[in-house]
Symmetry: C2
DNA sequence: CTTATCCATGCCAAAAAAGCATGCCAAGTC
DNA sequence: GACTTGGCATGCTTTTTTGGCATGGATAAG
């Protein structure tokens, strides 16, 4: 089996047409070169060079061999560079999960910033429930998740980075009686129908809202369970009921809906990043961006 | 710079997902494997494997690196095989020259046999004068030549292999007065107009014919100097004169021409192969075929 | 005829790789 | 929860490989 060193030596000799000058170029002694090339020829079973009085020239077989192996060195360095980009987080695919209470539209700025920072990176974006995100990240199927606390299914293989809190707001039909108030308290909502998005596990925002209601001493009347929070706001606009949302979701800016802050001190939505114990460099980059952006 | 051995080790470990089993497959001790892979990782600057409790798995960077270098081994062996075919004479291009008195049609059988013997070989066929062939073969621009003796310009860098002699024949217009004879002697041709193909150097067949005439005591009346012997026979058919040709050229089998043998003992055409001192394998194969075919 | 150039070879030293024994870590087991 | 087991890494020694120096032989140029 030929070695890369032999091939590099061979190519240099072929280029310069001389063992002596190739030896100079390669910073080795000429006999070392002669031996390596001779060994390569023996392994291949045919002569690569015609030894002439004034240097050497390629045999036809040597010429075709040169044409075929000349790409190898570049191939190798390209492979190394590609791997290095992946390893350093310069390139690659970031599999990003987010829960429905953190819509992609509110992540747009961070995602764009990320793609700008890592121009060779790609993003696979997927919206799944908080609990599932933990499983996915823990099993390595995803790189990073953005969830709404509390999360019920904790896992030792992931860690959570809490992001700055968001005040909760209430989304009301524009014509709603409470819409003429500047701000609301949870106790104002006792008689209201809650449109909410819950999953089987009942973690995340739905859990938080229920807890807040229970703390006020009432059980929320849930009008409808929907799985998509954007359509949830549609139901609110249609007058079906009210919804409690994190502050950022106001940016959806739907017509026919009035947004009012909840002034209860406990009405705080916490979100967090789900990271595997050893995040990929891209995940780390994204996490860094995320904590900086939300802190600012 | 990584070595091929390191890459082969890496690929085996990646395939089997374990250093231990890869060591068995590669017939080396496991520490040797560990070290080579570790060294490769260090040279590349990124980790190829995740070391886990039960074997190892590729990192994303390792996976992409594997995808990129997996072709190299095949690339190398293909290059070696291609070179070996060229060197052994199994494949390649044979640059074959022939003089106009040995037309390609008379070489057809040998050429076809050659292409059958070496199915991967190609032939570049060219018809040039004998003296030029010597120069071309000597300079390495052609692999083998087939000439008509005598050749004036000898060269130390080539050798000549004489082929079996051919009797000379006379090509006559079908209506010619001599056409009713079964055979002819050179002395019968004293009054004839010779259509001949001569080159500047005046070697080969033209020289031979002139010599034969001079030996009979007359200078041939040359009707026309043409450079293509097939058109020479056309001129004969048109009644311009007669032509002296080697026996094989009779196979051209033109209508309007009668062929008659020359019974003079000296009326013998000698042809020869021109070979460089170290012929290519293909040239050697062809020469072998040629000597066998003409001997038979 | 001499000289200069260039490649191959013999010999020795240095470096690299392999093997062996062992340590360490994590997962599964009783 | 201690123990066993499977699997990779590391220290040390031996073997193999590789490179350098000196030299020989062949060939074209002067």
């Amino acid at each position: 089996m030929p070695s890369l060193k032999q091939i590099r030596y061979f190519l240099t000799v072929a280029d310069l047409g001389s063992f002596t000058s190739a030896a100079v170029a390669l910073f080795v002694a000429q006999p070392a070169l002669s031996r390596q090339v001779a060994q390569l020829e023996e392994e291949l079973g045919f002569a690569l060079f015609e030894r002439e009085a004034r240097g050497v020239s390629l045999t036809p077989a040597g010429a075709i061999y040169r044409d075929r192996v000349i790409a190898i060195e570049h191939l190798l360095s390209a492979a190394a560079e590609e791997g290095e980009q992946l390893a350093s987080g310069e390139a690659g695919v970031l599999r990003l999960l987010h829960s429905s209470s953190i819509p992609a539209s509110s992540l747009l700025a961070v995602i764009q910033h990320f793609l700008q920072t890592c121009p060779k990176a790609h993003i696979d974006l997927d919206r799944i429930a908080s609990e599932m995100q933990v499983t996915e990240v823990a099993s390595g199927k995803a790189d990073i998740g953005i969830i709404r606390l509390p999360v019920l299914r904790r896992d030792a293989r992931v860690r959570f980075i809490e992001l700055p809190a968001e005040r909760l707001w209430v989304a009301l039909p524009a014509a709603h009686a409470l819409a003429n108030r500047d701000s609301l308290g949870m106790n104002d909502l006792q008689q209201q129908v809650f449109v909410s998005a819950v999953h089987r596990e009942r973690g995340g925002l739905a859990r938080l809202v229920t807890d807040l209601c229970l703390r006020q001493g009432f059980v929320p009347r849930t009008a409808r369970v929907v799985s998509r929070k954007t359509s949830m706001l549609n139901l609110v606009a249609a007058g079906l009921g009210i919804a409690v949302i994190p502050e950022r979701m106001r940016t959806l800016d739907m017509t026919g809906i009035a947004f009012r802050p909840l002034h209860d001190p406990e009405a705080i939505a916490l979100s967090a990043l789900v990271l595997p114990q050893r995040p990929t460099p891209l995940a780390q980059s994204f996490a860094d961006l995320m904590t900086q952006a939300t802190a600012a």
